[in-house]
């Protein structure tokens, strides 16, 4: 299980309705179904990942998040998840609006571009950061909208979105007192639990 998934599962209520945007191979929904008896649906566009979902009995809809979520009814989910996908969307702000329209709560996780390693890479090399965690070059990356913890805080404030919980972790999903003190500098993955204001 990915580090962010390990943490967000604790924010999901038993027997609740969950929509996982960019659900991958369905492993998180499978885990939540087995441990919390959630009623889950995933959206995915990768053929092989969709096949994995189908084989493990996870409901999955072949749908591009950039086309929006207009086919879902308002308030039809308890939680809408957007894990490690925000930065790959054409209109991340619009999708967050839609998430909080169709779901009571939202969970968003993203790689924090404000992390000191990214800052150091850019300031010392003068080139866009490439790492094991973010392995793409600037011209072929699916990640077109990187943001920092402070950027996301600002977006939430602007949209009157309530941040119920915010946590930052490193790639081993370990938090620390220093990360809590300086999340934008030290956190590698940002994890937000949000709701309408």
């Amino acid at each position: 299980m990915r580090p962010d998934q390990e943490i967000i599962q604790h924010w999901i209520e038993p027997n609740s309705r969950v929509l996982d945007l960019g659900c991958g191979d369905g492993s998180l929904l499978a885990h939540l179904t087995a441990t919390k008896n959630v009623k889950g649906i995933g959206l995915e566009i990768d053929d092989d990942k969709i096949q994995s979902c189908v084989e493990r009995g996870i409901n999955v809809i072949d749908q591009d998040l950039d086309d929006g979520l207009g086919n879902f009814q308002p308030d039809s989910f308890d939680t809408v998840l957007l894990a490690q996908t925000l930065q790959a969307l054409s209109h991340p702000d619009r999708l967050i609006d839609e998430m909080l329209s169709i779901g009571k709560r939202g969970i968003v996780t993203f790689p924090n571009f404000g992390n000191w390693k990214s800052r150091l890479y850019l300031s010392s090399k003068g080139r866009m950061p490439v790492s094991k965690f973010m392995p793409h070059s600037w011209y072929n990356t699916p990640n077109i909208h990187f943001c920092t913890v402070r950027d996301f805080d600002a977006l939430c404030a602007e949209k009157n979105i309530r941040v119920l919980e915010r946590t930052v972790v490193d790639l081993k999903h370990e938090g620390s007192w220093s990360m809590r003190l300086l999340p934008n500098l030290l956190g590698e993955i940002a994890i937000y639990h949000i709701a309408r204001g």
Binding site: I41, I50, Q51, V54, E55, N59, V60, I61, D62, F72
Partner: protein
């Protein structure tokens, strides 16, 4: 909408292949209880022709119903004899180890009422007159078919289908099962279908019907009594239908393989293969596609009853389960807990992906469990009968998981 462009592919399939259900024998089931139809008319008694593949398990939980489309019948898989050249219409998906795995499931396929492959229909003898029903056979709807399928289910000793599966008009029957008998199916597999026809769909059906009814040999539907049948009309109906089941790209591929004979461009010849190599400068058949349509029309008209064709197209046109729910289809799907599995194909312009997405949206609104795949395929509407890997693998994955659930529930 079947037995179309797949002949060449199926020529290599043999009745003794390890993944074939082999030689199968259809069975006739007789029903004495009168069936009141949607129109208000009643069929006092009727027969259904049925084929089954695989074994029903001890707790009768592994049965899968296959619903056929416009021109299909009960012969969905296997061969009727060693000499049979072609297998059933969905042999690519039904058999041991195939997507609808007969090692796991007991598969039931039938010919719907009003058909012409042995179930009671316009060519059957009307007990009241002693003559073929012909045009007097009542109009049957998808709802009527599903009602008769439900009676068949009970006769077979089955309480609940593991899955009801169908493409196109067959997918409409799947929807109707989920609405009329929500407790009688665990999974609904609805492929290349739509919640109702569009004006364009109905228009194509009307062209087909008009070409049949305007044929001088139609005799107001009593052609059998006149010892003839509306061959030209049926041919034309099938030719038009056939064009709509294929995509532009499928036709280019099918009729453009011989390379360019008219234009030597790198983009190919757009499927304009010539039949003889020369233009006739007359009204003869010049292009392969023309010859193909003539062949398909001829073959179809010799094997399919015109009145049945008219009935099937009417059943398509009339399908709209939302009518009982004030136009809100989501309300229709609110009862029941079966899981839905839907697939559409990118070049299908008869039932395009938008129509399946409409259905997905409706099912989500009704709070139902849905899986939906939009498959890239060149073959148009006919794709639902083709062994397209992404589609077939997903169908297999879905049904295998369904089987695991059934066996787990039983243990």
């Amino acid at each position: 909408m079947q037995e179309t462009v797949q002949e060449t592919m199926q020529d290599s399939i043999a009745f003794d292949a390890a993944d074939s259900v082999g030689i199968v024998t259809p069975q006739r089931y007789h029903f004495d209880e009168p069936l009141t139809l949607r129109s208000g008319k009643t069929l006092s008694a009727y027969d259904l022709m049925v084929e089954t593949y695989g074994e029903l398990n001890d707790n009768r939980s592994n049965a899968v119903l296959i619903c056929h489309a416009l021109s299909g019948d009960h012969h969905a898989a296997g061969f009727h004899s060693n000499e049979d050249r072609k297998p059933g219409w969905w042999d690519s998906a039904i058999g041991p180890g195939k997507a609808i795995d007969t090692n796991k499931f007991f598969v039931v396929a039938l010919n719907n009422l009003g058909g012409c492959a042995g179930s009671t229909g316009p060519t059957s003898i009307d007990p009241d007159s002693g003559k073929p029903y012909g045009p007097d056979f009542p109009v049957v709807t998808v709802r009527d078919w599903v009602k008769s399928q439900h009676r068949l289910m009970l006769k077979l000793g089955i309480d609940k289908w593991a899955a009801v599966v169908g493409g196109s008009l067959g997918g409409m029957q799947v929807q109707r099962w989920a609405i009329s008998y929500p407790d009688c199916l665990a999974n609904a597999v609805c492929i290349a279908s739509a919640p109702k026809l569009s004006a364009q769909n109905i228009a194509f059906n009307e062209v087909a019907r008009y070409s049949i009814t305007s044929d001088p040999n139609f005799h107001a539907g009593r052609y059998l009594e006149h010892g003839t049948y509306p061959k030209q009309g049926l041919m034309l109906a099938r030719m038009v239908g056939h064009i709509t089941y294929l995509s532009d790209s499928a036709m280019r591929a099918k009729f453009g393989n011989a390379g360019s004979q008219l234009e030597n461009t790198t983009r190919g010849n757009l499927g304009r293969d010539l039949r003889s190599g020369n233009l006739s400068f007359g009204l003869n058949v010049d292009f392969e596609v023309e010859s193909y349509l003539h062949y398909q029309g001829e073959r179809f008209s010799a094997n399919f009853d015109a009145n049945s064709y008219l009935l099937m197209t009417k059943a398509l046109d009339y399908f709209d389960p939302s009518v009982d729910y004030g136009g809100d289809l989501a309300k229709a799907f609110e009862g029941g807990d079966c899981k839905f599995f839907l697939v559409s194909f990118s070049t299908d312009w008869r039932f395009p992906p938008e129509r399946s997405r409409e259905l997905v949206e409706t099912l989500l609104k009704a709070g139902r469990e849905v899986t939906y795949l939009e498959v890239e395929a060149d073959q148009g509407h006919d794709a639902f009968l083709m062994p397209i890997p992404r589609y077939i693998n997903a169908l297999r994955g879905f049904l295998n998981h369904a089987f695991e659930e059934i066996t787990r529930d039983a243990s």
